[in-house]
């Protein structure tokens, strides 16, 4: 029992270490810094104009709905780009082979890396809200302020494991991250970031429910402007996150084995 606990603690330490290290790498990347500086202004502008279309009758709640949605769009863009890029960059830098052949489990290293991209993405959301307040005078309030940090944490975890799931294909197919651009808009729409899920066609419902960002978005919105506490959305987010991680871990074993057979680990 004690041995299992030590092993779990070592795994958590490793994920945290990988997360911190990747955050440090992002902070040293001019490209990421520039994106993080400019993108929130663009998304805050989108939120403002979405709000303006609704007119004065739309009220503060609608403005916040739009602002949180556009903020989440930024989170997804950053996560998608960072998750796909993490593998591609490490291929170019020839570090991927070293990570894969290290004694520590690679799935935990990758989880730390994709959680870091998601965390960096959430900076984008905060910045979008701040710019919304500064530039357009958006009001900021939360119906369940104590639950908001919990909702944010669950959403970061959800985004991180979703990026990990996508990244497993990037280990196998070196050009797969080119496809990541195609996933940006469908997820914005299907997870209710741009418009409420209620206005989407009914057949899209089941697809939305199995996408973890849907529940991350719902948790944050419910905490900010919902009538009920966002427990359901948070629990769904966590359950789907665990499921995504287990699938990604299983897939990673397969894709690394295949990459070792096909000699594609170091092909940039």
């Amino acid at each position: 029992m004690a041995r299992a606990w030590t092993s779990v603690m070592a795994d958590i330490h490793h994920v945290t270490h990988s997360w911190l290290f990747t955050m440090k790498l992002f902070m040293r990347s001019e490209f990421f810094i520039l994106t993080a500086g400019v993108q929130p202004v663009i998304f805050a502008t989108i939120a403002f104009f979405l709000f303006s279309i609704g007119g004065d009758a739309a009220g503060e709640q609608t403005l916040l709905f739009a602002a949180l949605g556009t903020g989440m769009m930024g989170v997804w863009s950053t996560t998608l780009f960072g998750g796909g890029g993490a593998i591609a960059w490490q291929r170019w830098e020839r570090t991927l082979e070293l990570l894969v052949s290290a004694p520590r489990r690679y799935d935990l290293t990758l989880l730390g890396q994709t959680l870091a991209t998601a965390s960096f993405g959430f900076y984008s959301m905060v910045a979008t809200l701040v710019w919304g307040v500064v530039l357009f005078g958006m009001p900021l309030s939360a119906n369940f302020p104590l639950m908001l940090p919990l909702a944010l944490l669950a959403a970061v975890l959800g985004m991180g494991v979703m990026a990990m799931l996508l990244a497993t294909t990037f280990v196998l197919y070196r050009h797969a991250n080119a496809l990541s651009n195609l996933l940006e808009y469908p997820i914005w729409i299907a997870t209710g970031m741009i418009v409420p899920l209620a206005v989407l066609p009914g057949w899209l419902g089941p697809i939305s429910w199995v996408l973890v960002p849907t529940w991350g978005m719902a948790a944050i919105r419910d905490a900010a402007i919902g009538a009920e506490p966002p427990w359901l959305a948070i629990v769904m987010c966590l359950v789907l996150s665990v499921a995504y991680y287990l699938i990604a871990r299983r897939m990673l074993v397969y894709v690394i084995d295949k990459a070792r057979r096909d000699a594609t680990l170091n092909l940039a």
């Binding site: 490793h14 290290f21 052949s101 004694p103």
Partner: protein, 347 residues
Amino acid sequence: MSTETRPSSDGPLAIEALDLVRTYRTHLGVVRRRSIDVEAVRGISFEVRPGELFGLLGPNGAGKTTTIKMLTTLLLPTSGTASVMGFDLVTSTTEVRKRIGYVFGGEGGLYDRISGLDNLRFFAELYGVEPAAQRPRIDALLEMVGLTGREGEKVEGYSRGMRQRLHIARGLLHDPPVLFLDEPSLGLDPVGARELRRTIADLVAAGKTILLTTHYMFEADALCDRIAVINGGRIVASGTGADLKGAIADRGIIEIETFGVTEEAVERLRSDPDVIAVNTEDHEQSQILLIQSDRGTEITQRLIQHLGDTRIGKISAREPTLEDAYVHLIATTGDTDGSAARAAAVA
């Protein structure tokens, strides 16, 4: 000379490879796609004893890096078996990874935007070094590779030599008993390469087992206990440097510096019955002809006649080196199938 397969009587071998084969499948064509199998390694067997420095020499595409990548668990062998410290590469991958360090030459393998220290901290965690032991271990390795005081600088500002020494420190973080060095001196200046050789010699003195691949013969001759020459995916000779040189010990080497030598003149030299081999080294403005003969300098006058009107610079005679033995081996063991890596259409 044949491949050595001497059994060891002192515990497990550090590295043992038995009939390792690695085939790559690649695709040709866009509309009518077909795949071909390229045999990069074609049945390699060798063993390395604990504490030994074993060199793997061969031309580009001979199969050196493929062999190292199989031994470091990055590639699965197509057939054959191999073990490191008694652990099978395929069935005990994690156990093997705990016991090996892998260092390669050239660009890459480090995170340039952060400091050398941050790189080492990250890899120490990856290699399972206990948190409390990480900093003392890193400090000791920085001292060993001569980077103490420079560890806080970003890696992108390091010279090639500093990067290579940082690579070695990275490969040693978890104190592995076996170290794979894949052309570690690639691109280093003479001073950097000499410092690296000193570091490698220190590691062997400290009891590490090292498998080294290199293009530089003097490096292999100076460092390696035993050497295997690999060509066309097969080991064509192995033994000590002296063993390999012994294969052409009865020959002398005549070096003739020429300016603008023609192919016809070189062919005339080759057709001389007392000439065993002629190799040409192209320099900026001159060509050095390395002529192997068992008649020593007594045929020098005849060689000059073969060169005709070619302008000649210095002429000298010397004993054969490992490089001469290597060139001889590569020339005489060229792929009988016509290419170093045999390709066979399969679909």
